[in-house]
């Protein structure tokens, strides 16, 4: 299996865990149910590629320890 296919399968598996009773708003692209999102990822269209980008970015952020960092601010803004 090539890497691209593996990534699509990974993202589909992650999206399966989204709650079925919610919709995701993606700006002017509209609102999508979990099932619709999965379709877009499988079709490898713009929305699908956006979902893949979000997943890949999240995995990199976890590797970088983003959960435990805090952006520095000089006061209680």
């Amino acid at each position: 299996m090539d890497t691209e296919k593996e990534i699509i399968n990974l993202v589909v598996a992650r999206l399966q865990n989204l709650p079925s009773d919610k919709e995701i708003s993606i700006g002017s692209s509209g609102e999508f149910t979990k099932d619709k999102l999965i379709e877009h990822v499988k079709n490898d269209d713009d929305i699908g590629r956006k979902m893949i980008a979000i997943e890949m970015d999240f995995l990199r952020s976890m590797k970088d320890g983003i959960f435990y960092e805090q952006y520095s601010t000089s006061n209680n803004a």
Binding site: L18, E31, F58, F67
Partner: protein, 219 residues
């Protein structure tokens, strides 16, 4: 420059209805003594009305809610309010916060180049979750709250007199705190799935221009 903040709150679909309702709640809650908010709601969120309000009030802050793209932010019925290469000079002297998709990519830097004091916005699509059963009452939607309260914190912080840089950092930290809450054992498995989207919005929030600029303190 005056202590006036103009706010556009179009409502042409579910997404704009949500972000506009939360924006109006935020400015209602802020009740800033140092900023007077003027809301251009629904069909008043148009380029011609906005430009006439610029001339009349010389606002220090502009809070745009609506759909967007790399070079633009839209208003009522997705008509263009501000677009790079067209009318970004209208933002001259102002601090703008755009709760809109990806306008910090091109419009933000173009506005600053044209004389805007600062431009805060999202470099990528702003993403959030909606509970369809709460469509008629967006403020009761706790899922949307996780995303829209941090996003609106930029305005809360600016209204308190904090700088553009501080307000941006404070909002990013608000997103991060919501992520950290979802890691805790008290969060439901469903809610934990929202983490990656909160991280996405947090990382996408950027500011251009003078990070030391403030929206308050004008006569």
């Amino acid at each position: 420059m005056s202590n006036t903040a103009l706010v556009t709150t179009p409502r042409s679909d579910s997404t704009t209805r949500y972000i506009s309702t939360w924006a109006e709640k935020t400015i209602e809650d802020v009740k800033s003594k140092s900023l007077q908010f003027i809301v251009l709601a629904k069909d008043r969120a148009t380029a011609s009305i906005l430009e006439s309000m610029f001339k009349k009030h010389d606002p220090s802050l502009l809070f745009l809610n609506g759909h967007g793209g790399p070079d633009l932010v839209a208003g009522h019925d997705d008509t263009i309010l501000i677009q790079a290469g067209k009318n970004e000079t209208a933002l001259k002297g102002m601090i703008t916060y755009a709760l809109s998709c990806s306008s910090a990519q091109v419009l933000g830097p173009a506005a600053v180049k044209a004389g805007a004091r600062a431009y805060i916005g999202y470099a990528e699509d702003f993403i959030f979750f909606i509970s369809p059963e709460k469509m008629g009452r967006p403020l009761g939607d706790k899922t949307a709250d996780m995303f829209l309260t941090p996003a609106n914190h930029v305005i809360v912080s600016l209204a308190k007199g904090h700088t553009v840089g501080e307000a941006t950092v404070a909002a990013r930290n608000y997103f991060l705190r919501n992520v950290q809450k979802l890691i805790s054992s008290e969060a439901s498995e469903d809610d934990r799935e929202y983490m990656r989207y909160l991280v996405w919005d947090m990382k996408s929030l950027v500011c251009h221009g003078d990070k030391t600029a403030v929206a308050t303190g004008f006569v």
